[in-house]
Amino acid sequence: MKLYKVLSASLLTCTVLVLSMQSQAEQFTEADVKRWTDEYMVVMKQGDKLFHGGLKAKNTVSCDQCHPNATNIHPETYPKFQQQLGKVALLGEMINWCIMNPTESDPLALDSDEMVALQAYIHYERRGQPLQPGNH
């Protein structure tokens, strides 16, 4: 009997503890949201700069020359079958294709700061558009 009481008491305590921890984790504030969004916008603006000549391509060509306001990139359609790569690919892979081909420069690592920033900018200029994965 005693064992049963001890076990149920600890179970009850654990449950209370867990529940209270969960309710603390849900309490991110408006200030948090604003700060995190600002963090994003800082990187987005870095991407804007990279996009507009900041990548310093070997042949001076910049992304915005063919993609003013990041148009005709269609981040909302990725992953998609990318004919130029012969497979279903991610946006970052196609960005690298463009860096290597029309701007004749070296590709970026997919998880590099620059790649993240570029995608932050590209997506931002396309905000609000419905997802259309695979759309040509």
């Binding site: 001076t60 993609h67 306001n69 005709n72 130029q84 081909n101 029309p102 905000r127 609000g128």
Partner: protein, 358 residues
């Protein structure tokens, strides 16, 4: 798996390809009309954006685009009466770029007339260009047609002439298409005055063709597909029976009819631009008449680029787009409808997938 088409369809397609893409003679003979002006053809090449990298290196892609247009234009038989070059020889207006572009254009058989583009102008306010090529606005008559060339990429005097550290700073501001601080193109007061005087000597039934780099319309301000005094210029052209404006700058197929004026854009030899509707963050506009060009496959550097030749057989314009990798297109003035019409795709049910832009 695509079925190979039957022979009849195949031969029909081949014949259509011949009619669409062939050198101008057969097209002109087919649609001869009565008018005061004579039948003639001229070629129109635009927007080569030759870019200097360093030393003797230029961006190979844009070089090849201009070289290709020149090579294909030289195939025209009979030879065109002349060639017009629609602006933006250079990318940043550097003498090396203008020289290299003129070098390539030197391969053309026949006389070339030049139109100023903003990329030629803003480094030194057109100084070097004018030294090489003469006045940036002028007119002449040819076989009964009055041709006018405008410099329509000027902007507010104060901005152009303010104190810049380097001409290149001013150039870079105007070079960036999506520049949020961009200055709108305009023809300006003095040129409009000149135009009014020039047109006063022209008969109302004389066909008039205006060459301009900017559209002489207000299409999309964000990318300077825009002429700020468009209405005023259009008003000067209103009294004439047959007026066509041919413009560059937009690097895509556009066409429109406003009152008595037909508008036609030229393809770039360098690279294509998206249509304004591709930018989802603002409201945009494109002339309803326009059937868009085919979307580009960036693998092929000449896709969605090209040049054009124009038949003047009725005093209105038949614009033939010569498009590498794609079926050529013809946008011709239809007298019964009073506006330019694409010969193959104007009907909504004739559209093809590459014309879907979003």
């Amino acid at each position: 798996m695509k079925k190979s088409m039957n022979r009849r369809d195949f031969m029909k397609k081949s014949a259509a390809l011949v009619a669409a893409g062939s050198l101008p003679l057969s097209v002109v003979e087919m649609s001869f009309g009565k008018s005061n002006s004579e039948n003639f053809t001229f070629a129109y090449i635009s927007d080569s954006h030759i870019t200097h990298v360093k030393g003797n290196d230029f961006v190979r892609n844009w070089d090849r685009g201009l070289i290709r247009a020149v090579a294909e234009t030289n195939l025209m038989d009979p030879k065109p009466d002349f060639v017009f070059y629609g602006g933006d020889i250079a990318q940043l207006g550097k003498p090396e770029e203008i020289d290299h572009g003129l070098d390539i254009l030197g391969g053309l058989n026949g006389k070339v007339h030049y139109v100023m583009g903003e990329h030629d102008y803003y480094l030194d306010l057109g100084d070097y260009w004018k030294k090489q090529l003469g006045p940036d606005y002028y007119s002449f008559d040819h076989k009964g047609v009055h041709f006018v060339v405008l410099n329509s990429i000027l902007t507010h005097e104060k901005w152009m002439h303010k104190k810049w550290d380097k001409g290149m700073d001013r150039m870079l501001q105007m070079a960036r298409l999506d520049n949020p601080d961009g200055q709108p193109f305009m023809v300006g007061d003095s040129q409009r005055e000149w135009l009014q005087k020039d047109l006063a000597k022209v008969g109302k039934d004389t066909p008039v063709v205006v060459f301009s780099h900017s559209p002489i319309q207000k299409i999309h301000k964000g990318w300077n597909f825009w002429t700020d005094d468009a209405e005023q210029v259009q008003a000067l052209l209103k009294p004439f029976d047959k007026v066509t404006v041919i413009y560059g700058h937009v690097h895509q197929i556009q066409y429109n009819q406003i009152g008595n004026i037909s508008f036609h854009s030229a393809m770039a030899t360098a690279w294509p631009w998206p249509y304004p509707s591709a930018y989802s963050q603002v409201e945009t506009y494109l002339p309803k008449l326009t059937v868009e060009m085919n979307r580009a496959d960036p693998f092929n550097e000449r896709d969605a680029t090209g040049w054009q030749f124009i038949n003047m057989h009725t005093g209105n314009v038949d614009l033939n787009y010569v498009l590498p990798e794609n079926k050529n297109r013809v946008v011709a003035f239809d007298a019964s409808q009073g506006k330019p019409v694409d010969r193959d795709y104007q009907d909504a049910d004739k559209r093809i997938p590459p014309q879907v832009h979003y």
